[in-house]
């Protein structure tokens, strides 16, 4: 298993390098000159040229790419913002926990509410509760998160004055973003868990278990559920990534200074170091999430675990273990 993890981590390196190159290249095509944007409309040609030289923008593409890659991956430094001249690494370390708090808590709610609810609706398929649940979930996945968030602001902070409408501070500032962010996630998770459970419930071995005369409880919890969990686990990583992506937008609604606001602001002001670094950082995080999901998956599924731990050669032995 350790060998497999190392192998996967090594495979990540070229992918992340390619991501960095891709993002850097895309950013060079962004119209608008940062130097003239920073100096404003009154700047003379001369001033712009000096600023460009200062930022290193006058150098050829390959030289800039090289220094960007060297700085990011060798010196492990994300550089300095064009506008505020603050260290991007420090700024991100300060901002990222806020984004992670929203995405993380939303993820926790998604998992602990979504999965049991999905299994419950599948087990009670066709009942009134199931129908209502399915309907609510379709509505839940269909509402734009940022709209839902604004409706919350309208109701909870402007009408009832319970929670602050925007900004930073204590826990109360995170309540609405997390709830708004969770509802879509929970609905999606219920749908996945329900579909996965329904597929399993119709499988032959469940019929066999029933015909053996096992109690319905045993059939569901010992035979169906463990098998239904596999596809559910495989979407967890994607869910977390979705939550992170969604947090970028929800930060906009609540003016929470997380990575999302940082990135979108950087894109709009042509602050290349900030935009590139944020994307590279989030991509690394994203790749690690995918890897973690795969590992969880392997830990649960003996068939896959056997492949990982013993390699292709001894696959046969793994199959015997399962049998």
């Amino acid at each position: 298993m350790g060998k497999y993890i190392v192998k996967r981590l090594l495979m990540m390196i070229p992918v992340i390098l390619a991501v960095a190159i891709l993002i850097f290249t895309i950013m060079t095509f962004v119209p608008g000159n940062p130097a003239s944007l920073i100096l404003g409309a009154d700047a003379t040609e001369e001033q712009i040229r000096i600023k460009e030289h200062e930022l290193g923008l006058d150098q050829p593409y390959l030289v800039r790419l090289g220094s960007f890659l060297k700085q990011t991956f060798v010196e492990l430094d994300f550089g300095r913002s064009y506008w505020t001249n603050t260290s991007v690494t420090e700024e991100m370390m300060e901002r990222f926990p806020r984004t992670l708090a929203i995405a993380g808590f939303a993820m926790v709610f998604t998992t602990i509410i979504g999965i049991p609810l999905g299994i419950f609706t599948a087990v009670h398929e066709g009942t009134f509760a199931d129908r209502i649940g399915v309907l609510l979930c379709v509505v839940g996945v269909s509402m734009p998160t940022f709209w839902l968030a604004m409706l919350f602001v309208l109701l909870l902070s402007l009408k009832l004055k319970l929670l602050p409408a925007q900004g930073m501070g204590g826990v109360q500032y995170y309540v609405m973003p997390v709830i708004a962010q969770s509802l879509g996630g929970i609905s999606g998770m219920v749908r996945t868990a329900r579909a996965s459970m329904l597929e399993v419930v119709r499988a032959d071995y469940v019929t066999t278990a029933r015909s053996k005369g096992l109690s319905e409880r045993k059939v569901i919890y010992e035979h169906a559920l463990p098998n239904a969990m596999l596809p559910i686990i495989s979407v967890l990583g994607g869910q977390l990534a979705n939550q992170l992506g969604g947090a970028l937008v929800i930060e906009q609604v609540f003016s929470i200074p997380g990575i999302g606001l940082y990135l979108i602001n950087a894109v709009n002001t042509r602050d290349y170091p900030v935009a590139q670094s944020s994307v590279v950082f989030l991509s690394i995080l994203f790749s690690l999430i995918v890897l973690a999901t795969d590992l969880c998956y392997a830990a649960v599924d003996p068939m896959i675990r056997a492949q990982f731990t013993q390699g292709g050669k001894k696959k046969k032995k793994g199959k015997e273990e399962n049998a």
Partner: protein, 291 residues
């Protein structure tokens, strides 16, 4: 041989009929279809039915609630919200369809070439897809939208790119399982060109899982389109895209919250429609889920 192909053709027709029969007896499918059809028709006939010009400002009538003159009220600049919603549907619907369609088209070529040729071509293309899918979809589209600009076709490309990696993988996997089938070998033996084999033999037989996946992507695309416009990188004001309308409504949440309601409602209803339709289509085509 000919008897066999005849039989296959026949079952093919039956399959479609069966799917159609399942769909027509599924109330969810009907509801979804009706919602989507109504919204598309409204978007198409928007110029003839909208009561006002969507750009016409009337500052005297700004921020009015619903009335006989303005069914959905007016926005901060006195523009009729109903007219803007109707025109906005054109953006949301067409962007949704076009972005998924373009994404699927690019994925079709990449997946087909990778799956059919295999070897280093496959390796190269799939590693490229690995890189694309290592960047979270939302982020990739934001960056591409920033680089290309906010013209209509640029937004389509930015949104389409997020779909390419996953769709091309689905197609490639399907093609790998079909590549060794007898009819492909027969085509090869009869000196068919690779192009012809791919496009007239392999793709028609392997494209189904991708199409099913596309229908469920439509709903996500609509939501995504609204998000992109909301953060200011999609359709730009004064053009009336639903997400962009919500972005401008955000500034008036304290003074005139009514502006928020209808654009969001229309996004939600249209996504519900596409979700129901996509779900039913998937269920109808997946034999495992049939009772």
């Amino acid at each position: 041989m000919s008897a066999k192909t005849k039989k296959e053709k026949k079952t093919g027709v039956n399959q479609w009929q069966e799917v159609f029969n399942i769909l027509i007896h599924n109330p969810n499918a009907i509801i979804g279809f009706v919602i989507v059809a109504v919204l598309i028709i409204l978007a198409i006939i928007a110029p003839w039915i909208s009561p006002y010009d969507y750009l016409e400002m009337d500052l005297m009538a700004a921020k009015q609630g619903p009335s006989a003159a303005h069914l959905f009220g007016t926005d901060d600049l006195g523009r009729d919200i109903l007219s803007r919603i109707l025109y906005g549907g054109r953006y949301s619907m067409s962007l949704g369809f076009l972005s998924v369609g373009c994404g699927a088209l690019i994925a079709l070529v990449i997946g087909a070439v990778a799956g059919y040729f295999g070897g280093w071509v496959d390796n190269l293309l799939m590693r490229m897809m690995d890189v694309l899918s290592a960047i979270p979809g939302m982020l990739l589209s934001i960056i591409v939208a920033a680089a290309l600009g906010t013209a209509y076709h640029d937004t389509v490309i930015a949104m389409a790119i997020g779909n390419v990696a996953a769709l091309s993988r689905i197609l490639r996997a399907q093609i790998l399982s079909i590549r060794e089938k007898e009819y492909v070998q027969a085509a090869k033996a009869s000196n068919c060109s690779s192009f012809r084999i791919i496009f007239s033999h392999i793709i028609p037989n392997s494209v189904m899982p991708m199409i099913i996946n596309c229908t469920s992507r439509l709903a996500a695309a609509l939501l995504f389109c609204a998000s992109l416009s909301f953060i200011g990188l999609g359709v730009q004001p004064p053009e009336p895209e639903w997400g962009a309308m919500l972005a401008s409504a955000r500034g008036y949440i304290r003074t005139y919250p009514y502006m928020l309601i209808s654009p969001g409602l229309f996004i939600a209803v249209s996504v519900v429609g596409f979700t129901l339709l996509g779900d039913s289509l998937r269920d109808a085509m997946d034999p495992k889920l049939r009772k």
